[in-house]
Symmetry: C2
Subunit: 560 residues, 2 copies
């Protein structure tokens, strides 16, 4: 990410002449008749196509993950997009599979989340705003469940729901802290049953996780029906199916389940679909999109949210079990500035050269590297270059990585597009020919406690796990309900291997406390809460929206 | 609406082979390149097209309105669609301009709202569910304003907003009574400023009214900037512009502002766009859609919500002022069953023949007729036929209407499609050649009180208007802020000319109390509340959603 007088992301995006989406579809063998257009530059892939191609052999799969990031992020999406463009430049038919951005952070802090510089997906304005309506459909489906639930309370409570034990929350795709803790049903008997409630951001909804893990409409409906929304007064789980609306909710999501086809700046076909949080959920784009991309191209580049300890681990231990295939190689994105931060440098001094801090902070990269290798997969390190990186820092980082016999590449896709990722692609190419022997971190039939222990000791480097009284009680309930054999979705800070965001580098010997265990039976995982996890962000004093505008001709500015 | 063993609406819809939307566009002279496809059977009309055709002369315009309805509605949409099909059958190039349905009532009571029988707009599943995302965009824009407002309170309240005097509410496009009265911002200082709030259904949002009255993106943005959301502690109005987000909110609505093109069962081009409530708002589809249809075809059939006293009056006194043109004729839809109800028959006995009750209830039709004629427009009565209507009843209704020298037609479009509306079309055709002399009910520069007096005495038949203390205070505020010269949007029951839903027929001598006057400065009207107006419906004991489902192939059932 060289910062010398470059154009803004939206300027670069708006200067790009996009290919009609039907032409992008042709590149992956789909005819105009087969896709569902949403304007000229977006399309959905219908189930007829997904069924037609389902018996094809799969292309290769590369997972892009990262070290523990700085608050600004380390440019995983940018590397993912640029790498796919690079592979297409060197003759490998490649697609991208990415998450779709949430509007809340776009209007709040980020301004946009579709890659950056010359490694973006387009049309960036649409993708960052309403796109094809998937997230709005999820919001509606989520809140319809809430409305049916509160209506059931109102209509005599035939399901014997304990209003104090409703775990299903409402959602909006906005940053709106004032909705975190609310009371509803006020105003007397005709206006509902009073109770506490709260709104999460839509991408934290279990519906989002369900949509991203479902392999068909039938599977989607089955998952929806299993979602646990509350307990009865005698502590039995109440599900969406108990409300009798699984079919209606699946109906609301039938179009949202279809993967979205768009393109990169260089015309690489991209499936951008689903965007669950990587803390409270598993943080990867949809299984259907990745599966579809694997059928349509020789190589798929995909990413997982946050660092390799969160999104990366969950991709491997949660998503691959639904995907039916595993990555052939992993790209671990690192930045000089993040490594210096892990070496003790203050956030405000990250632009100053500091080779010593980099050496110390390298421990963070090293542990992520070893973790990813422990799944039996080859790893390549990608340095996402920034203007402030010095030659001495980059050389030291290369030396340290090569001493571990791990390939490393200087990645300049932000500034150069695919051309800036050709070296990375060439380092990956031979690895894709090798046979991998993938192994999961844990077996599903291990106990919840054993799985969490393995995560904390083998991946995070902690020494001990303890469980709060609440978590212990929840563990018993999980056993009673026979939910033990689900994978674990760890909800912890993205800034550290530990549950303390200030513990940089590769901390050891720390203890982890599991505060809560939340069964997400529709998604099919147990969330282990290791701290206060923000599921509804707030807006900053000066939200990004203040700079946004649209002309009378419909041209947008202020998304950056 | 003959009820003998007919197929359900969704069965008829799903059996219809639709034309590709590009073919429908060709019928009105638009090329494939000019429209923005949303799947194969929906498209948006971009601003380039709207600008290209704006200097064309207008087609003729027919407004379909109705007598005071029964709770089930009298089939205005069905007549509107069938009449357009009929005109196309007899060689008049005709388009339909309709509102888009709200998802809340679809999931709750109605099951679907896109016409009925053989007079429907298609694809009915899409139109009834997420359609092209317009209503979701409105939900998001509305709630973004709330989030920015609460963020302003949280960040030191620089606008000096009085949290007790915030009138801007959040919205969802669902029936969800538990959200009518809520408290937000609970949970301590990092979670917002505690205050009372509530959710309306999205179609009751001022943003919906704004979108439906805006004539361009610039006009949309200007209207948004003027929306009053709160008062300061010293009782000054606070607007969206004060929050600094008018541009961002307009940006969120730029695609929603483009009219949606679909088709009727008989392939008539239909613009289905915008759907404001007809009580708290003006109840008509968007000005841009109606204007566009008038440029694209020789004749446009459009409808207004509820009866002629609500939607009809507002179409004429509010929408036409933005539209820049007025109807050439009015169709007043009546049903035998509703007239019998106005004649005193209980809702449960409406299927029994009762000519005497019909004669009495005819007073309701007669007053609506005279009201519509008072605008200087020719009116034709359309009997929307039901299976339970007897020949004696229909003959009596025809006799009574013809005695007033008003054309009347028996309309069978539900059962027969356009063929069932040819007689109605032929009765309208000569009227369209006549010159009309349209006159508004009131001038904009009359006082708020004078305008409301004219509405109550001239349209409703009441004798006196009184204002609550609150309304009197609000009237003074309206004067102080120079908002007097806006039209009035009456919010009252749709079941009676009066503010009492049980006062059937053509009541006289009643008094009306205006409880509140709510300035909707973005929409550009003053809402006069005549009673408790439901702006967030509830769900019934057995919501329509219980019967809805979707197959693994994506086929929907249970929308009826």
């Amino acid at each position: 990410m060289l910062e010398k007088k470059m154009k803004s992301d939206i300027e670069i995006a708006q200067e790009t002449e996009m290919e009609p989406i039907s032409q992008i579809a042709q590149k992956v063998g789909l005819t105009f008749e087969e896709i569902e257009l949403y304007g000229k530059y977006k399309a959905k892939i219908p189930f007829e196509v997904i069924n037609r191609i389902k018996n094809r052999s799969n292309g290769k799969l590369i997972l892009v993950t990262a070290i523990n990031p700085t608050p600004a992020g380390e440019g995983k999406s940018t590397v993912t997009v640029g790498l796919a463009d690079a592979f297409n430049q060197i003759g490998t038919k490649t697609m991208v599979a990415l998450r779709e951005p949430s509007l809340g952070p776009v209007m709040g802090m980020k301004g946009g989340a579709a890659g950056g510089g010359y490694a973006q997906i387009l049309p960036m304005e649409d993708i960052n705003l309403h796109f094809t309506g998937d997230i709005h459909a999820i919001t509606t489906a989520n809140n319809a469940i809430s409305a049916f639930l509160d209506n059931s309370l109102q209509q005599g409570n035939p399901l014997n729901i304990d209003p104090r034990r409703i775990i299903w929350k409402r959602v909006l795709d906005l940053n709106d802290r004032a909705l975190r803790h609310i009371t509803i049903g006020l105003g007397g008997p005709v206006n509902g049953v009073p109770r506490e409630d709260g709104f999460d951001i839509t991408v934290a909804s279990e519906i989002m996780a369900v949509l991203c893990l479902a392999t068909s409409i039938d599977d989607l409906k089955a998952r929806i029906s299993r979602i646990v929304i509350a307990s009865t007064y005698d502590r039995k789980p109440v599900t969406v199916d108990d409300l009798g609306v699984s079919g209606a909710i699946a109906m609301l999501l039938k179009d949202a389940l279809k993967p979205n086809l768009v393109q990169t700046i260089e015309g690489t076909p991209a499936l951008v679909h689903g965007g669950p949080f990587a803390n409270i959920a598993h943080g990867c784009n949809s299984v259907l999109a990745t599966q579809t991309a694997l059928k349509l191209s020789d190589l798929v580049i995909t990413e997982a949210g946050f660092g390799a300890d969160l999104g990366g681990e969950k991709f491997l231990d949660i998503k691959t079990r639904q995907l039916g295939s595993t990555p052939d190689a992993i790209v671990l994105v690192a930045t000089v500035r993040a490594l210096k931060m892990h070496g003790g440098v203050n956030k405000n001094n990250l632009k100053e050269e500091n080779v010593e801090a980099l050496k110390i902070g390298f421990s963070n990269l090293k542990r992520h590297l070893e973790n990813m290798q422990s799944y039996g997969l080859p790893v390549v390190v990608a340095i996402n270059q920034f203007a402030s990186d010095t030659a001495a820092e980059i050389n030291e980082l290369m030396r340290l990585t090569e001493a571990l016999h791990v390939p490393i590449s200087l990645c300049q896709v932000f500034e150069k597009g695919g051309r800036g990722g050709i070296d990375l692609a060439q380092k990956l190419l031979p690895l894709l020919q090798e046979k991998t022997e993938f192994s999961y971190l844990y077996d599903l039939n291990e106990s919840v406690e054993e799985k969490i222990n393995k995560l904390v000791t083998n991946i995070y480097g902690g020494s001990k796990v303890s469980f709060s009284a609440k978590a212990k009680r929840q563990m018993r309930e999980i056993e009673e309900n026979h939910w033990n054999n689900l994978p674990i979705c760890m909800a912890k800070t993205q800034y550290s291997f530990s549950d303390n965001p200030n513990l940089m580098g590769a901390p050891e010997g720390f203890e982890i406390t599991v505060r809560e265990l939340i069964p997400k039976i529709g998604a099919g995982f147990i969330v282990a809460l290791l701290g206060d996890i923000m599921t509804m962000p707030g807006l900053p004093k000066a939200p990004a929206a203040l700079k946004m505008d649209v002309t009378n001709e419909g041209k947008i500015s202020g998304l950056f």
